[in-house]
Amino acid sequence: MESSPAMRPKRITFLIYLLPSVILFAFMVLVPVILAVRYSFFNWSGGPKMEFIGLDNYMTLIKDSYFWNAFLKNLLIVFFSVFGQIGIAFVISIFLMSKVVKWKGFHRTVIFIPVVLSSVVIGFLWGMIFNQDAGMLNWLLSSVGLESWIRPWLDDPNIVMFSVTVPIVWQYIGFYLIIFLAAMQSINSEVYEMAELDGATGFKKMLYITFPLLSDTIKIAIMLCIAGNMKAFDSIFVMTGGGPGSSSTVMAQYAYDTSFKSFKLGYGSTISVGIMILSVGLIVISRLIGGKKRD
Protein backbone atom coordinates (compact mmCIF):
# COMPACT_ATOMS: atom_id res chain seq x y z
CA MET A 1 0.00 0.00 0.00
CA GLU A 2 1.17 3.52 -0.79
CA SER A 3 1.60 6.31 1.71
CA SER A 4 0.06 9.71 1.09
CA PRO A 5 2.45 12.56 0.30
CA ALA A 6 1.83 14.09 3.71
CA MET A 7 3.42 11.10 5.38
CA ARG A 8 6.50 11.15 3.22
CA PRO A 9 9.62 11.94 5.22
CA LYS A 10 11.67 14.96 4.24
CA ARG A 11 14.06 14.37 1.37
CA ILE A 12 17.07 14.32 3.65
CA THR A 13 15.46 11.88 6.12
CA PHE A 14 14.46 9.72 3.20
CA LEU A 15 18.07 9.49 2.08
CA ILE A 16 19.34 8.86 5.61
CA TYR A 17 16.99 5.86 5.83
CA LEU A 18 17.92 4.49 2.45
CA LEU A 19 21.51 5.31 1.64
CA PRO A 20 23.56 3.59 4.38
CA SER A 21 22.37 0.13 3.31
CA VAL A 22 22.69 0.89 -0.38
CA ILE A 23 26.23 2.24 0.00
CA LEU A 24 27.36 -0.56 2.30
CA PHE A 25 25.84 -3.20 0.05
CA ALA A 26 27.42 -1.70 -3.06
CA PHE A 27 30.78 -1.43 -1.30
CA MET A 28 30.74 -4.99 0.08
CA VAL A 29 28.91 -6.96 -2.63
CA LEU A 30 28.67 -5.15 -5.98
CA VAL A 31 32.17 -3.63 -6.04
CA PRO A 32 33.81 -6.94 -5.01
CA VAL A 33 31.96 -8.80 -7.76
CA ILE A 34 33.27 -6.28 -10.30
CA LEU A 35 36.75 -6.42 -8.76
CA ALA A 36 36.78 -10.22 -8.93
CA VAL A 37 35.97 -10.08 -12.63
CA ARG A 38 38.68 -7.43 -13.18
CA TYR A 39 41.44 -9.30 -11.32
CA SER A 40 40.52 -12.50 -13.11
CA PHE A 41 42.12 -11.06 -16.27
CA PHE A 42 45.47 -10.45 -14.57
CA ASN A 43 48.52 -12.39 -13.56
CA TRP A 44 48.92 -10.98 -10.07
CA SER A 45 50.43 -12.10 -6.78
CA GLY A 46 49.16 -9.20 -4.66
CA GLY A 47 52.11 -6.86 -5.22
CA PRO A 48 52.30 -3.69 -7.33
CA LYS A 49 53.06 -5.69 -10.47
CA MET A 50 49.90 -6.62 -12.35
CA GLU A 51 50.14 -8.15 -15.78
CA PHE A 52 47.08 -8.15 -18.05
CA ILE A 53 46.77 -11.55 -19.65
CA GLY A 54 43.29 -11.40 -21.13
CA LEU A 55 41.41 -14.69 -21.03
CA ASP A 56 44.47 -16.82 -20.20
CA ASN A 57 43.27 -17.48 -16.63
CA TYR A 58 39.93 -18.68 -17.95
CA MET A 59 41.63 -20.97 -20.45
CA THR A 60 43.64 -22.41 -17.56
CA LEU A 61 40.52 -22.76 -15.42
CA ILE A 62 38.63 -24.69 -18.09
CA LYS A 63 41.49 -27.21 -18.28
CA ASP A 64 42.24 -27.17 -14.53
CA SER A 65 41.44 -30.69 -13.32
CA TYR A 66 41.86 -29.61 -9.66
CA PHE A 67 39.07 -27.09 -10.08
CA TRP A 68 36.68 -29.50 -11.77
CA ASN A 69 37.47 -32.20 -9.23
CA ALA A 70 36.68 -29.70 -6.49
CA PHE A 71 33.41 -28.91 -8.25
CA LEU A 72 32.57 -32.62 -8.39
CA LYS A 73 33.22 -32.83 -4.65
CA ASN A 74 30.75 -30.01 -4.05
CA LEU A 75 28.25 -31.87 -6.23
CA LEU A 76 28.85 -35.02 -4.18
CA ILE A 77 28.10 -33.11 -0.98
CA VAL A 78 24.98 -31.59 -2.59
CA PHE A 79 23.85 -35.06 -3.69
CA PHE A 80 24.26 -36.62 -0.25
CA SER A 81 22.73 -33.59 1.41
CA VAL A 82 19.63 -33.59 -0.77
CA PHE A 83 19.00 -37.26 0.02
CA GLY A 84 20.51 -37.31 3.50
CA GLN A 85 19.43 -34.01 5.02
CA ILE A 86 16.14 -33.56 3.21
CA GLY A 87 15.32 -37.28 3.06
CA ILE A 88 16.04 -38.03 6.72
CA ALA A 89 14.41 -34.77 7.84
CA PHE A 90 11.28 -35.65 5.85
CA VAL A 91 11.05 -39.11 7.37
CA ILE A 92 11.60 -37.79 10.90
CA SER A 93 9.01 -35.06 10.40
CA ILE A 94 6.44 -37.68 9.34
CA PHE A 95 7.25 -39.69 12.48
CA LEU A 96 6.97 -36.62 14.66
CA MET A 97 3.54 -35.83 13.21
CA SER A 98 2.23 -39.32 13.94
CA LYS A 99 0.54 -40.34 17.15
CA VAL A 100 2.85 -43.21 18.06
CA VAL A 101 5.91 -41.14 18.92
CA LYS A 102 6.67 -40.12 22.48
CA TRP A 103 8.79 -37.13 23.58
CA LYS A 104 8.14 -35.14 20.40
CA GLY A 105 9.30 -31.84 21.83
CA PHE A 106 12.50 -33.41 23.11
CA HIS A 107 13.40 -34.88 19.71
CA ARG A 108 12.65 -31.63 17.89
CA THR A 109 14.70 -29.55 20.29
CA VAL A 110 17.67 -31.91 20.36
CA ILE A 111 17.86 -32.60 16.61
CA PHE A 112 17.98 -28.84 15.98
CA ILE A 113 20.95 -28.23 18.34
CA PRO A 114 23.71 -28.88 15.75
CA VAL A 115 22.20 -26.19 13.49
CA VAL A 116 23.07 -23.43 15.96
CA LEU A 117 26.62 -24.64 16.58
CA SER A 118 29.71 -23.20 14.93
CA SER A 119 30.74 -25.43 12.04
CA VAL A 120 34.35 -25.01 13.19
CA VAL A 121 33.42 -26.73 16.46
CA ILE A 122 31.51 -29.36 14.49
CA GLY A 123 34.64 -29.89 12.41
CA PHE A 124 36.89 -30.34 15.44
CA LEU A 125 34.36 -32.57 17.17
CA TRP A 126 34.02 -34.88 14.18
CA GLY A 127 37.77 -34.75 13.68
CA MET A 128 37.99 -36.33 17.13
CA ILE A 129 35.25 -38.82 16.31
CA PHE A 130 37.07 -39.89 13.12
CA ASN A 131 40.56 -39.86 14.66
CA GLN A 132 42.37 -43.04 13.69
CA ASP A 133 44.01 -43.92 17.02
CA ALA A 134 41.99 -42.08 19.62
CA GLY A 135 38.68 -41.55 17.84
CA MET A 136 35.22 -42.34 19.11
CA LEU A 137 34.17 -44.15 15.93
CA ASN A 138 37.06 -46.62 15.88
CA TRP A 139 36.67 -47.09 19.65
CA LEU A 140 33.02 -47.95 19.10
CA LEU A 141 33.83 -50.35 16.24
CA SER A 142 36.46 -52.21 18.25
CA SER A 143 34.27 -52.45 21.32
CA VAL A 144 31.48 -54.12 19.35
CA GLY A 145 33.94 -56.50 17.69
CA LEU A 146 34.10 -54.89 14.26
CA GLU A 147 37.88 -54.35 14.21
CA SER A 148 37.96 -55.08 10.49
CA TRP A 149 35.85 -51.95 9.86
CA ILE A 150 38.38 -49.67 11.48
CA ARG A 151 39.70 -47.12 8.98
CA PRO A 152 41.83 -44.01 8.95
CA TRP A 153 38.61 -42.13 8.16
CA LEU A 154 40.20 -38.79 7.36
CA ASP A 155 43.54 -40.03 5.99
CA ASP A 156 42.39 -42.43 3.30
CA PRO A 157 41.95 -40.48 0.03
CA ASN A 158 39.33 -42.95 -1.14
CA ILE A 159 36.92 -42.44 1.73
CA VAL A 160 37.78 -39.01 3.08
CA MET A 161 35.05 -37.24 1.04
CA PHE A 162 32.40 -39.53 2.49
CA SER A 163 33.76 -38.99 6.00
CA VAL A 164 33.70 -35.19 5.74
CA THR A 165 30.21 -35.24 4.20
CA VAL A 166 28.70 -37.02 7.21
CA PRO A 167 29.00 -34.09 9.65
CA ILE A 168 27.74 -31.65 7.01
CA VAL A 169 24.65 -33.77 6.41
CA TRP A 170 24.21 -34.43 10.14
CA GLN A 171 24.48 -30.77 11.16
CA TYR A 172 21.54 -29.49 9.11
CA ILE A 173 18.95 -32.29 9.41
CA GLY A 174 17.27 -30.25 12.17
CA PHE A 175 17.01 -27.21 9.92
CA TYR A 176 14.98 -29.02 7.27
CA LEU A 177 13.04 -30.88 9.95
CA ILE A 178 11.69 -27.60 11.32
CA ILE A 179 10.81 -26.36 7.84
CA PHE A 180 8.90 -29.57 7.08
CA LEU A 181 7.14 -29.63 10.46
CA ALA A 182 5.98 -26.04 9.94
CA ALA A 183 4.64 -26.93 6.50
CA MET A 184 2.96 -30.13 7.72
CA GLN A 185 1.25 -28.36 10.57
CA SER A 186 -0.33 -26.00 8.05
CA ILE A 187 -1.98 -28.91 6.21
CA ASN A 188 -5.66 -29.01 7.08
CA SER A 189 -6.28 -32.01 9.35
CA GLU A 190 -9.65 -32.60 7.66
CA VAL A 191 -7.78 -33.84 4.62
CA TYR A 192 -6.28 -36.64 6.70
CA GLU A 193 -9.56 -37.41 8.41
CA MET A 194 -11.28 -37.80 5.05
CA ALA A 195 -8.51 -40.08 3.86
CA GLU A 196 -8.78 -42.17 7.03
CA LEU A 197 -12.51 -42.58 6.46
CA ASP A 198 -11.64 -43.85 2.99
CA GLY A 199 -9.29 -46.37 4.59
CA ALA A 200 -5.88 -44.77 3.93
CA THR A 201 -3.13 -46.02 6.25
CA GLY A 202 -0.04 -44.23 7.53
CA PHE A 203 2.16 -44.91 4.52
CA LYS A 204 -0.53 -44.11 1.96
CA LYS A 205 -1.37 -40.88 3.73
CA MET A 206 2.24 -39.88 3.47
CA LEU A 207 2.57 -40.80 -0.20
CA TYR A 208 -0.69 -39.37 -1.46
CA ILE A 209 -1.34 -36.43 0.84
CA THR A 210 1.72 -35.20 2.73
CA PHE A 211 4.23 -35.54 -0.09
CA PRO A 212 2.23 -33.76 -2.82
CA LEU A 213 1.06 -31.00 -0.46
CA LEU A 214 4.65 -30.42 0.62
CA SER A 215 6.14 -30.33 -2.85
CA ASP A 216 6.69 -26.55 -2.81
CA THR A 217 8.43 -26.76 0.57
CA ILE A 218 10.59 -29.61 -0.68
CA LYS A 219 11.58 -27.56 -3.73
CA ILE A 220 12.60 -24.64 -1.51
CA ALA A 221 14.54 -27.06 0.70
CA ILE A 222 16.40 -28.48 -2.29
CA MET A 223 17.33 -24.99 -3.49
CA LEU A 224 18.59 -24.03 -0.02
CA CYS A 225 20.50 -27.28 0.10
CA ILE A 226 22.26 -26.61 -3.21
CA ALA A 227 23.08 -23.00 -2.31
CA GLY A 228 24.32 -24.01 1.14
CA ASN A 229 26.55 -26.85 0.01
CA MET A 230 28.18 -25.06 -2.90
CA LYS A 231 29.91 -23.00 -0.23
CA ALA A 232 30.94 -25.93 2.00
CA PHE A 233 34.24 -24.96 3.58
CA ASP A 234 34.46 -24.45 7.35
CA SER A 235 34.19 -27.96 8.76
CA ILE A 236 36.27 -29.53 5.97
CA PHE A 237 38.96 -26.88 6.42
CA VAL A 238 39.14 -27.82 10.08
CA MET A 239 38.97 -31.60 9.63
CA THR A 240 41.38 -32.13 6.74
CA GLY A 241 42.39 -28.76 5.26
CA GLY A 242 41.46 -30.27 1.90
CA GLY A 243 43.80 -33.24 2.25
CA PRO A 244 45.23 -35.77 2.12
CA GLY A 245 46.66 -34.28 -1.07
CA SER A 246 43.67 -32.62 -2.66
CA SER A 247 41.28 -35.48 -2.00
CA SER A 248 38.85 -33.37 0.07
CA THR A 249 39.49 -29.98 -1.54
CA VAL A 250 36.15 -28.36 -2.32
CA MET A 251 35.84 -25.24 -4.51
CA ALA A 252 36.04 -22.69 -1.70
CA GLN A 253 39.10 -24.46 -0.27
CA TYR A 254 40.77 -24.44 -3.69
CA ALA A 255 40.14 -20.71 -4.12
CA TYR A 256 41.50 -20.11 -0.61
CA ASP A 257 44.64 -22.21 -1.20
CA THR A 258 45.34 -20.60 -4.58
CA SER A 259 44.97 -17.07 -3.26
CA PHE A 260 46.37 -17.20 0.25
CA LYS A 261 48.84 -20.08 0.15
CA SER A 262 50.20 -19.84 -3.41
CA PHE A 263 49.47 -16.07 -3.56
CA LYS A 264 48.01 -16.29 -7.04
CA LEU A 265 45.39 -13.60 -6.48
CA GLY A 266 44.66 -13.19 -10.19
CA TYR A 267 43.94 -16.87 -10.77
CA GLY A 268 42.22 -17.06 -7.36
CA SER A 269 39.81 -14.38 -8.60
CA THR A 270 39.18 -16.41 -11.74
CA ILE A 271 38.31 -19.37 -9.54
CA SER A 272 35.99 -17.13 -7.50
CA VAL A 273 34.21 -16.01 -10.66
CA GLY A 274 33.95 -19.67 -11.65
CA ILE A 275 32.41 -20.52 -8.26
CA MET A 276 29.88 -17.71 -8.59
CA ILE A 277 28.87 -18.73 -12.12
CA LEU A 278 28.54 -22.42 -11.22
CA SER A 279 26.62 -21.78 -7.98
CA VAL A 280 24.21 -19.23 -9.43
CA GLY A 281 23.85 -21.43 -12.51
CA LEU A 282 22.88 -24.46 -10.44
CA ILE A 283 20.43 -22.44 -8.35
CA VAL A 284 18.81 -20.97 -11.45
CA ILE A 285 18.60 -24.40 -13.12
CA SER A 286 17.03 -25.96 -10.01
CA ARG A 287 14.56 -23.08 -9.86
CA LEU A 288 13.62 -23.53 -13.51
CA ILE A 289 13.10 -27.26 -13.11
CA GLY A 290 11.15 -26.73 -9.88
CA GLY A 291 9.08 -23.96 -11.44
CA LYS A 292 8.13 -25.92 -14.54
CA LYS A 293 6.67 -28.83 -12.62
CA ARG A 294 4.13 -26.52 -11.07
CA ASP A 295 2.33 -25.85 -14.38
Partner: protein, 277 residues
Protein backbone atom coordinates in the same frame (compact mmCIF):
# COMPACT_ATOMS: atom_id res chain seq x y z
CA UNK B 1 -1.75 -54.93 9.83
CA UNK B 2 -1.90 -57.09 12.92
CA UNK B 3 -1.60 -55.64 16.38
CA UNK B 4 1.85 -57.10 17.08
CA UNK B 5 3.27 -55.84 13.79
CA UNK B 6 1.85 -52.42 14.62
CA UNK B 7 3.42 -52.52 18.04
CA UNK B 8 6.81 -53.53 16.64
CA UNK B 9 6.83 -50.72 14.06
CA UNK B 10 5.86 -48.29 16.83
CA UNK B 11 8.83 -49.38 18.93
CA UNK B 12 11.13 -49.30 15.90
CA UNK B 13 10.13 -45.72 15.09
CA UNK B 14 10.72 -44.61 18.67
CA UNK B 15 14.09 -46.36 18.84
CA UNK B 16 15.13 -44.78 15.55
CA UNK B 17 14.22 -41.29 16.77
CA UNK B 18 16.10 -41.78 20.02
CA UNK B 19 19.14 -42.92 18.04
CA UNK B 20 19.02 -39.75 15.92
CA UNK B 21 18.54 -37.54 18.97
CA UNK B 22 21.36 -39.31 20.78
CA UNK B 23 23.71 -38.72 17.85
CA UNK B 24 22.92 -34.99 18.09
CA UNK B 25 23.36 -34.60 21.80
CA UNK B 26 25.93 -37.20 22.80
CA UNK B 27 28.94 -35.54 21.10
CA UNK B 28 28.15 -32.40 23.10
CA UNK B 29 27.80 -34.25 26.38
CA UNK B 30 31.03 -36.11 25.65
CA UNK B 31 32.75 -32.81 24.89
CA UNK B 32 31.50 -31.34 28.15
CA UNK B 33 32.59 -34.15 30.47
CA UNK B 34 35.83 -34.89 28.62
CA UNK B 35 36.88 -31.27 29.06
CA UNK B 36 36.92 -31.95 32.81
CA UNK B 37 39.45 -34.80 32.49
CA UNK B 38 43.20 -34.53 32.66
CA UNK B 39 45.16 -35.11 29.50
CA UNK B 40 46.55 -38.43 30.75
CA UNK B 41 43.12 -39.64 31.76
CA UNK B 42 41.78 -38.76 28.29
CA UNK B 43 44.59 -40.62 26.53
CA UNK B 44 43.95 -43.70 28.67
CA UNK B 45 40.27 -43.99 27.78
CA UNK B 46 38.51 -41.46 25.57
CA UNK B 47 35.02 -42.49 26.64
CA UNK B 48 35.29 -42.77 30.42
CA UNK B 49 33.79 -40.17 32.74
CA UNK B 50 36.27 -37.95 34.61
CA UNK B 51 37.30 -39.67 37.82
CA UNK B 52 37.93 -36.34 39.52
CA UNK B 53 36.42 -33.41 37.54
CA UNK B 54 38.88 -30.51 37.34
CA UNK B 55 38.77 -27.12 35.67
CA UNK B 56 42.47 -26.77 34.84
CA UNK B 57 41.71 -27.09 31.11
CA UNK B 58 39.45 -24.06 31.30
CA UNK B 59 42.01 -22.06 33.24
CA UNK B 60 44.62 -22.96 30.60
CA UNK B 61 42.24 -22.19 27.75
CA UNK B 62 41.70 -18.70 29.14
CA UNK B 63 45.27 -18.02 30.28
CA UNK B 64 47.42 -19.72 27.64
CA UNK B 65 44.86 -20.02 24.87
CA UNK B 66 43.58 -16.43 25.18
CA UNK B 67 39.98 -17.60 24.90
CA UNK B 68 38.86 -14.59 26.94
CA UNK B 69 40.17 -12.18 24.29
CA UNK B 70 38.57 -14.16 21.47
CA UNK B 71 35.30 -14.33 23.39
CA UNK B 72 35.21 -10.57 23.84
CA UNK B 73 36.09 -10.01 20.15
CA UNK B 74 33.30 -12.32 19.02
CA UNK B 75 30.84 -10.62 21.36
CA UNK B 76 31.86 -7.18 20.08
CA UNK B 77 31.61 -8.08 16.39
CA UNK B 78 28.35 -10.01 16.81
CA UNK B 79 26.69 -7.26 18.87
CA UNK B 80 27.44 -4.48 16.40
CA UNK B 81 26.59 -6.70 13.44
CA UNK B 82 23.14 -7.26 14.92
CA UNK B 83 22.57 -3.59 15.78
CA UNK B 84 23.60 -2.23 12.38
CA UNK B 85 21.87 -4.98 10.40
CA UNK B 86 18.59 -4.31 12.17
CA UNK B 87 18.85 -0.51 11.93
CA UNK B 88 19.88 -0.41 8.27
CA UNK B 89 17.58 -3.25 7.31
CA UNK B 90 14.54 -1.79 9.05
CA UNK B 91 14.83 1.73 7.65
CA UNK B 92 15.54 0.57 4.11
CA UNK B 93 12.69 -1.95 4.24
CA UNK B 94 10.32 0.73 5.57
CA UNK B 95 11.11 3.03 2.66
CA UNK B 96 10.85 0.18 0.15
CA UNK B 97 7.56 -1.05 1.59
CA UNK B 98 5.79 2.29 1.91
CA UNK B 99 6.97 4.69 -0.78
CA UNK B 100 7.29 4.97 -4.53
CA UNK B 101 10.42 6.66 -5.79
CA UNK B 102 12.76 6.50 -8.77
CA UNK B 103 14.90 3.33 -8.87
CA UNK B 104 12.80 1.75 -6.10
CA UNK B 105 12.54 -1.53 -8.00
CA UNK B 106 16.21 -1.48 -8.96
CA UNK B 107 17.24 -1.13 -5.33
CA UNK B 108 14.79 -3.79 -4.18
CA UNK B 109 15.98 -6.20 -6.86
CA UNK B 110 19.61 -5.48 -6.00
CA UNK B 111 19.10 -6.52 -2.38
CA UNK B 112 17.17 -9.63 -3.35
CA UNK B 113 19.90 -10.83 -5.73
CA UNK B 114 22.25 -10.47 -2.77
CA UNK B 115 20.70 -13.66 -1.40
CA UNK B 116 21.74 -15.50 -4.54
CA UNK B 117 25.40 -14.45 -4.64
CA UNK B 118 27.65 -17.03 -2.96
CA UNK B 119 29.60 -14.83 -0.55
CA UNK B 120 32.56 -17.22 -0.58
CA UNK B 121 33.31 -15.96 -4.05
CA UNK B 122 33.79 -12.47 -2.58
CA UNK B 123 36.49 -13.54 -0.14
CA UNK B 124 39.42 -12.58 -2.38
CA UNK B 125 38.13 -9.28 -3.83
CA UNK B 126 37.05 -8.09 -0.37
CA UNK B 127 40.48 -8.97 0.98
CA UNK B 128 42.10 -6.92 -1.81
CA UNK B 129 39.62 -4.06 -1.37
CA UNK B 130 40.21 -3.91 2.39
CA UNK B 131 43.97 -4.05 1.88
CA UNK B 132 43.82 -1.07 -0.47
CA UNK B 133 41.60 0.88 1.94
CA UNK B 134 43.67 0.00 5.02
CA UNK B 135 40.67 -1.76 6.55
CA UNK B 136 42.34 -5.12 7.12
CA UNK B 137 42.90 -6.34 10.65
CA UNK B 138 40.93 -3.69 12.56
CA UNK B 139 38.45 -4.14 15.38
CA UNK B 140 35.61 -3.03 13.09
CA UNK B 141 36.80 -4.91 9.97
CA UNK B 142 34.41 -7.85 10.17
CA UNK B 143 31.34 -5.77 10.91
CA UNK B 144 31.25 -4.39 7.33
CA UNK B 145 30.93 -7.68 5.43
CA UNK B 146 28.74 -9.28 8.11
CA UNK B 147 26.19 -6.44 8.03
CA UNK B 148 26.27 -6.23 4.24
CA UNK B 149 25.69 -9.97 3.75
CA UNK B 150 22.84 -9.95 6.26
CA UNK B 151 21.11 -6.94 4.72
CA UNK B 152 19.35 -8.89 1.97
CA UNK B 153 17.71 -11.21 4.47
CA UNK B 154 16.93 -8.40 6.93
CA UNK B 155 15.30 -6.24 4.26
CA UNK B 156 13.38 -9.22 2.93
CA UNK B 157 12.01 -10.07 6.41
CA UNK B 158 11.18 -6.48 7.41
CA UNK B 159 9.68 -5.54 4.04
CA UNK B 160 7.41 -8.60 4.03
CA UNK B 161 6.29 -7.82 7.56
CA UNK B 162 5.70 -4.10 7.13
CA UNK B 163 3.58 -4.78 4.04
CA UNK B 164 1.21 -6.86 6.19
CA UNK B 165 0.79 -4.03 8.72
CA UNK B 166 -2.24 -1.88 7.79
CA UNK B 167 -1.19 1.62 6.87
CA UNK B 168 -4.21 3.11 8.70
CA UNK B 169 -2.29 3.40 11.96
CA UNK B 170 0.39 5.50 10.34
CA UNK B 171 -2.25 7.62 8.59
CA UNK B 172 -4.07 8.21 11.84
CA UNK B 173 -0.81 9.25 13.49
CA UNK B 174 -0.14 11.63 10.61
CA UNK B 175 -3.58 13.23 10.95
CA UNK B 176 -2.97 13.64 14.67
CA UNK B 177 0.14 15.61 13.81
CA UNK B 178 2.87 13.03 14.34
CA UNK B 179 5.96 13.82 12.28
CA UNK B 180 7.18 11.15 9.89
CA UNK B 181 10.25 10.46 12.03
CA UNK B 182 8.10 10.18 15.12
CA UNK B 183 5.78 7.74 13.35
CA UNK B 184 8.64 5.53 12.23
CA UNK B 185 10.25 5.33 15.66
CA UNK B 186 7.18 5.27 17.87
CA UNK B 187 4.74 3.27 15.76
CA UNK B 188 6.32 1.25 12.95
CA UNK B 189 9.47 0.12 14.75
CA UNK B 190 7.66 -1.25 17.83
CA UNK B 191 5.19 -3.06 15.56
CA UNK B 192 8.12 -4.89 13.97
CA UNK B 193 9.14 -6.47 17.28
CA UNK B 194 8.59 -10.07 16.05
CA UNK B 195 10.95 -9.52 13.11
CA UNK B 196 13.46 -7.77 15.37
CA UNK B 197 13.65 -10.68 17.80
CA UNK B 198 13.96 -13.12 14.89
CA UNK B 199 16.74 -10.96 13.44
CA UNK B 200 18.64 -10.76 16.72
CA UNK B 201 18.86 -14.56 16.86
CA UNK B 202 19.57 -15.14 13.18
CA UNK B 203 22.25 -12.49 12.77
CA UNK B 204 23.90 -12.97 16.16
CA UNK B 205 24.41 -16.68 15.55
CA UNK B 206 25.63 -16.00 12.03
CA UNK B 207 28.27 -13.55 13.22
CA UNK B 208 29.25 -15.63 16.26
CA UNK B 209 29.91 -18.71 14.11
CA UNK B 210 31.27 -17.09 10.92
CA UNK B 211 34.58 -18.51 9.79
CA UNK B 212 36.02 -17.77 6.30
CA UNK B 213 35.94 -13.96 6.40
CA UNK B 214 37.32 -13.87 9.93
CA UNK B 215 40.07 -16.21 8.73
CA UNK B 216 41.09 -14.03 5.80
CA UNK B 217 40.53 -10.47 7.03
CA UNK B 218 41.99 -10.69 10.56
CA UNK B 219 45.67 -11.37 11.21
CA UNK B 220 46.57 -10.19 14.72
CA UNK B 221 45.95 -12.55 17.60
CA UNK B 222 44.34 -9.80 19.74
CA UNK B 223 41.53 -9.32 17.20
CA UNK B 224 40.66 -12.92 16.39
CA UNK B 225 37.13 -14.17 16.91
CA UNK B 226 36.35 -17.49 18.60
CA UNK B 227 36.24 -19.80 15.56
CA UNK B 228 39.66 -18.54 14.40
CA UNK B 229 41.04 -18.64 17.92
CA UNK B 230 40.00 -22.27 18.05
CA UNK B 231 41.92 -23.22 14.91
CA UNK B 232 44.95 -21.37 16.25
CA UNK B 233 44.60 -23.23 19.53
CA UNK B 234 44.75 -26.51 17.68
CA UNK B 235 47.98 -25.60 15.91
CA UNK B 236 49.79 -24.63 19.09
CA UNK B 237 48.77 -27.51 21.30
CA UNK B 238 48.19 -30.23 18.78
CA UNK B 239 48.23 -33.15 21.15
CA UNK B 240 46.35 -31.54 24.02
CA UNK B 241 42.80 -32.65 23.32
CA UNK B 242 41.36 -31.83 26.71
CA UNK B 243 42.36 -28.16 26.51
CA UNK B 244 40.96 -28.06 23.00
CA UNK B 245 37.70 -29.54 24.27
CA UNK B 246 37.49 -26.93 27.02
CA UNK B 247 38.00 -24.20 24.40
CA UNK B 248 35.23 -25.71 22.27
CA UNK B 249 32.87 -25.74 25.24
CA UNK B 250 33.60 -22.04 25.76
CA UNK B 251 32.57 -21.34 22.14
CA UNK B 252 29.44 -23.48 22.24
CA UNK B 253 28.09 -23.08 25.77
CA UNK B 254 26.55 -19.57 25.49
CA UNK B 255 24.86 -20.52 22.23
CA UNK B 256 23.44 -23.76 23.62
CA UNK B 257 22.21 -22.11 26.83
CA UNK B 258 20.43 -19.35 24.89
CA UNK B 259 19.05 -21.94 22.50
CA UNK B 260 17.66 -24.14 25.27
CA UNK B 261 16.07 -21.10 26.91
CA UNK B 262 14.39 -19.84 23.74
CA UNK B 263 14.28 -23.00 21.58
CA UNK B 264 11.03 -22.19 19.76
CA UNK B 265 12.08 -18.66 18.96
CA UNK B 266 15.53 -19.74 17.78
CA UNK B 267 14.08 -22.42 15.47
CA UNK B 268 11.69 -19.84 14.09
CA UNK B 269 14.48 -17.32 13.61
CA UNK B 270 16.91 -19.66 11.89
CA UNK B 271 14.31 -20.91 9.42
CA UNK B 272 12.56 -17.55 8.94
CA UNK B 273 13.81 -16.96 5.41
CA UNK B 274 12.98 -20.45 4.25
CA UNK B 275 9.50 -20.70 5.71
CA UNK B 276 8.36 -17.32 4.44
CA UNK B 277 10.18 -17.55 1.11
Amino acid sequence: MTKTANRISQIAINVFLFAVSLSCIFPLIWMLYSSLKTSQEFDLNIMSLPSKPQFQNYIDAFEIGKMGTYFWNSAFVSLFTVIFTILFGFFTAYILARFKFPFRNVIYFMFLTGMLIPVHGLLIPIFVEFKALGLLDKRITLIFPYVAFNLSMAIFLFENFIKTVPIDVEEAACIDGSSSTNTVFRIVLPLCMPVISTSIILFFLGAWNEFPFALVLIKSAELRTLPIGLTNFNGQYTANYTQMLAAMVIVVLPVVVVYLAFAKKVMQGMTAGAVKG
